[in-house]
Symmetry: C2
Subunit: 411 residues, 2 copies
Amino acid sequence: MNCEIICVGTELLLGDIVNTNSVYLSKELAKLGINVLYQSVVGDNDSRLEECIRKSLEKSDIIILTGGLGPTADDITKEVCCKALGFELEINEKQLRKIENYFCSKNIEMPESNKKQAYLPKSGYVLENNNGTAPGFAIEKNSKCIISLPGPPREMKPMFENGAKPILEKYSSAVLVSHNVRMIGIGEAKMAEDAGKLLDGENPTVAPYAKDGECLLRVTAKAKDKNTAEKMCSKILDEIYKKFSEYIYGIDIDGIEYAVVEKLKEKKLKVAFAESCTGGLCAKRITDVPGASQVFDCGVVSYANSIKNKLLNVREEDLEKYGAVSETVAKQMAKGVLELSGADIGVSITGIAGPDNDGSEKPVGLSYIAVAYKDEVVCTEFMTARKDRDYNRFANSSKAFDAVRKIIDKF
Amino acid sequence: MNCEIICVGTELLLGDIVNTNSVYLSKELAKLGINVLYQSVVGDNDSRLEECIRKSLEKSDIIILTGGLGPTADDITKEVCCKALGFELEINEKQLRKIENYFCSKNIEMPESNKKQAYLPKSGYVLENNNGTAPGFAIEKNSKCIISLPGPPREMKPMFENGAKPILEKYSSAVLVSHNVRMIGIGEAKMAEDAGKLLDGENPTVAPYAKDGECLLRVTAKAKDKNTAEKMCSKILDEIYKKFSEYIYGIDIDGIEYAVVEKLKEKKLKVAFAESCTGGLCAKRITDVPGASQVFDCGVVSYANSIKNKLLNVREEDLEKYGAVSETVAKQMAKGVLELSGADIGVSITGIAGPDNDGSEKPVGLSYIAVAYKDEVVCTEFMTARKDRDYNRFANSSKAFDAVRKIIDKF
C-alpha cells in the first residue's frame, strides 16, 4: 500500500514552522508497513489543494492530510477534500455538542465560526479530537482511503494513534519493527566498518546513522506480525551487542542522560556536575529526565576561573600554570564538586567550545572530562575537528554522561 | 514567479530526518519575493523523481531541488533532472580537480565513485561547493529555472546564498522584508487584541505568533526594492514599539538570552543564576551566546534542598515551613547566589515543572522567580496552565531572563 502525506498550510510554505507532522506520520506509517512515497505541502488555496488531492489519488492508495480543519474561512481541507471525492458535508450533532461543551467547560461562549467544525462528510468515519475542537475524518472510495487530521501536533498525534491507526491497520499486510542501538565512543565510519556484513542484510536491515557526538545502528524487520518481526530483530541485536558492547548505552532510549539516570537509580548513586564549557548543559540534560531528583542534587557552572577556585577549590597557581582547559584543572574541578555536593560521582567538563579559542594556543574543540569517585579521579582528553559551538557543547556533555555510565560499574 | 521546492531523499520519507532545508529555502525565497506554492519530498527513485520534476515544470516557473548529488548509485538527482529536461552531462575538469584537491588536502585517495560528482549539465551554471565535494548547478529552459543543491544543510545553505541567490534575483520583481518583534510577559490573545487594526494592514502585514513562553509580531512589507520595504516596515515598527514597549525585548534577535547578554555588556554587569526547576537551563542558554563569559561567571543548580541550604544559605526552617517552591526560598536563593558569585544581579528560579508535582498541594506549573541586586530582592509568582515539563522549564527560564532584562535598567 502506497501513501502520500499532504500537509496543508501557508505557514509551512513560508518556512514559519518546521514540518514535524510529516516526520511523525512517516515514522508511524513505516511501522505499519505502509510505504510513504511522497510528502507534499500546499497552501490554504482551494484550487491548488484540490488539484493536489486529485493527482495524489492517481498515484497513491492512501492519502493522509494534516491541517486546515480550523474554524476560519481559510481552513478549507474538509470542503475541498469532499468536493474532490464527491462527498457531501452534513452537520454532526454529536460533534457539535462536543465542541459546545469544550467552550462551556472553559466558560467561554462558542464563537459562531466554530460551528463549521461540526460539519463532516456524510458517509465517513469521524475521528474524535479530545485535545481541541476540530474533529478529523476518514473516507473510503474505490478502495482508496483518505484521512484528514488537524494541524497542531498535540491534536494530530493522539488522533492518529487512537483514530486513524486502527483504520490503517486494515490496509497493511505487513508490520515493520525497528530498534535503535545507540552508542558513544565510536565514530560512524568505524562502526560501519566493524558492523561489516551485518549491513548487507535485506530483512532485517541494519543501517548506520551519525548524530551529534554519537552514532546508532537501526535494525528493521518486516514480517506479517509484530512477534515474528521482533524475533527477527532480536537475533541481529544479539550480534550487535557482542560486537559493540563497550559502546552501547541503550536501545530505543531517548538519550544517554536517560540511560545514566536509570543506572544511577539502580545502584542508588548520585552524580554532581562541575561545568565550564558546557555551561549547565549536563545539569539541564539530566533534569530533562523526570525523576532526576533521585540521582542529582547539585550542579556548579564555574564559567570563570575565580568561581573554579572559590567553589571548587581549584588551585589558583594551577589555573595560571596549566590554564582552565587542562587535565590538572579538570581533575580538581571533579574532586571539588564531589566534595561540595556530597554526591557519589563528581564529573567536570572544561574545554574550548568555539567559535573562537580562549586566547591561548589551545585549539577550538579541545576538552577534558574528569570523573571523581571514591578516592579516584580519572581524566580523558578529547578533540573534535569542528569549530561549531553548539556541536562541541552537546558532544562534550554526551561524553561526560558516557564517562559517568562507565564509572557506575565500579560501584 | 512561482516556485516549487523538491527535496530528494528516502530518509525524509521514512521520517529519519526533519526537513529543515524546506524551511530555510522557503524563508529565503519569500525574502526574494518568490512565492513558494508547493514543497515536495520524493525518494531516491528514478521514475518517481522524473515524474515529479515533469509535473512541477507544468505548474512552477522555478524548481529548487535539494539532495541526491552524492557519489553513490542512489544519488540520482542530476541524472534524472537532465533526462527530464533534455540536457546532457559532461565531465567538468575544473570541478574534477577541485574534488581531487579536496581529498588530497585530507590525505585521502579519492574514491573512484566521487568522479561522478564532476559530471555536470553541458549548458548550465555550476554552483561551487566549498564545504563538500558535490557541486550544484542551475539550468534555464523555456524561461523556467531549475536549481539543484546538495542535501546537507551546511553545504546547501552557503551554495544557495552565494550561487543560487544571484541567479534567482533576476526572476524576482519584488522583495519582501520581514521583522520579528519579540515580546515576553503578554499572551498572544492579548497582544493580538491590543494590536487591533495593525493586524488588518495588507502591505505591510502584521501577524501575531506564539512561541514557548513568549510571542511575537511579524511585520512584512513587499516593495520593488529593499529600501522602500524597510521604510514601510519602519513606520509600523514605531507604532508597535509605542504600544508594547514594556514587553518588547528585541527585534530580529535569536532569543531573550541574546538581548540580556547585550544589555549586560553595555552596562558592564554580571549575572549569576541559582536554578532549581530549570536545572541549569538558564546557565545553558546564556552560555549558548558566544562571548557570554564577559557577563556570566557562575551558576548553581541547587536541585536538592540540602544544596539550597549549603551553597546558597537558604534557611532550613524556611525550606521546611514554606517548601522549596515559595517566595521566601526564591528570595533567599537569589540573595545567596548574588553573594556567592560576586555578580551584580542574582536570579533564582524554583517551581514545579511537572509532569508530577512535588508531593505538596502546590500545582504543576507554579513557579517563583526572584532577582537580587544591590540591597534589593524582588520576587514574582507565575502559573502556567500546562503540565508539560519541557514547556514549563523553557518558559520559566525565559521569564528569568526577562526579569534580569528589566532590572538592568535600575543600574
